[in-house]
Symmetry: D2
Subunit: 141 residues, 4 copies
């Protein structure tokens, strides 16, 4: 995985578990691939979500997704998930995530993620440091 | 499962496999629940997708989803997926799918499904009979 | 779902999400089906696992599985999971679980489940009431 | 991923999708991790399963698994799957697969995999070249 400009690129290999009887990646599994990429993108910025829960009592949860399925991808395909932030608020941020096979777009999504207080189970202000890291990413664009 | 007016209601129990370390249903699994409901809705109209592939060489594939995650649902929750058609074209249809826990909305989605020719791997006209069944559902609204 | 003698029978429909590019149920998904059946079997005896955690601080976790895959099952297949207890100890029990398509055996497993103290994260004595319910099942055989 | 002696080591990061409400990896997902490792092990030997189907009309399917769950693994854990062959026949082979977190064993499995003729849907002789590659691995031990 690597960062090029404001874009974070994460590779995903398609395994049997990801496909369905249609011979291609099952539609909900692209959301798993997108979450893996967001997790690595946050880790790349220095944030491990398991530690955010333990140390700061906050977690990131998805509030909304829009996904367009453009082309199928089959078993053994080597995909890449391209992630960049497009909107940042005090309690949430929105990512654009594109999944490519070679240079062809397979699937693209817009994912809105909110920060929640884990004990109170309520939307919460993002920790300042994370907000600033995301702002830097956004300005980079 | 049952049909009330134009709405098809399909029950889903939340099992361990559906949850994640946050203690609630993982976000992509709602798309699985929605697909199960669409599958039963088509079966209820008389169409088994495995037979559509074998006999008519067509399959239904998701082209686009929009999902809003409103409330979490935990292990053992008894959910219901409420499905109804909102748009119908010659090669695709769009469903509104709402997932409820008791009477509370947990998650709602708009799912666009296209008919494809399985061998040609291309969008195809929907079989007339299915088109008419869906039209009846649409007019029922 | 129903109980016949000591055997608990739970129906499972195969959806797209359960299959893989080979056109049949992916091998790990049978473990999901078995867990769903065990969950409903415990619920049928009066035990909801989410409540066991909340009220008694105990959970059931799988310690060992042996699974034989005998025949494939495809999309839309209507399976049944046949569960009965074959061994009972103070801290664990073992189930035999057979998955059938019509009357044909598709897959069979032996699953050892242990009771754990959720806070201590250690094996724990099973609550007496559950032990007695399982013993009744075992004697029924 | 790397090969050390006869052992093939494949890293797996635990994501949200892999965990359940117990806060740890869901038991069936270890079978997914094992399959990913076997897939990469075969690829490392020069065999892509999607091409085996296309070119030789054969696929590998799991006939039997035995899995012991020894310790839990949580979200964000970095696991490694250690795979080596322990038995080889004309139509099937058996792997030992151990999953470790740091140097601790989390889970271990014995997986028997058979070669099948995809069209005939029957057990088939393994392609000679693959048999010989596996034999080399076995002798390496």
């Amino acid at each position: 995985m690597q960062q090029i400009g404001d874009e974070f690129i994460y590779p995903v290999r398609v395994y049997y578990e990801d496909t369905d009887a249609g011979g291609v990646v099952y539609y909900s599994n692209y959301l798993n691939f997108m979450e893996r990429a967001r997790t690595e993108w946050l880790r790349h910025m220095g944030y491990e979500q398991s530690k955010l829960v333990e140390q700061l009592n906050v977690a990131f949860v998805v509030r909304r997704v829009e996904v367009d399925y453009l082309k199928p991808a089959g078993f053994d395909a080597m995909l890449s998930v391209h992630t960049h932030i497009v909107q940042l608020g005090k309690v949430s941020f929105t990512c654009k995530q594109q999944i490519k096979l070679n240079d062809e777009m397979i699937c693209k999504g817009i994912v809105k993620v909110a920060c929640v207080d884990v004990s109170a189970k309520k939307t919460a202000l993002m920790p300042t440091e994370i907000y600033q890291s995301l702002q830097k990413m956004l300005n980079h664009a």
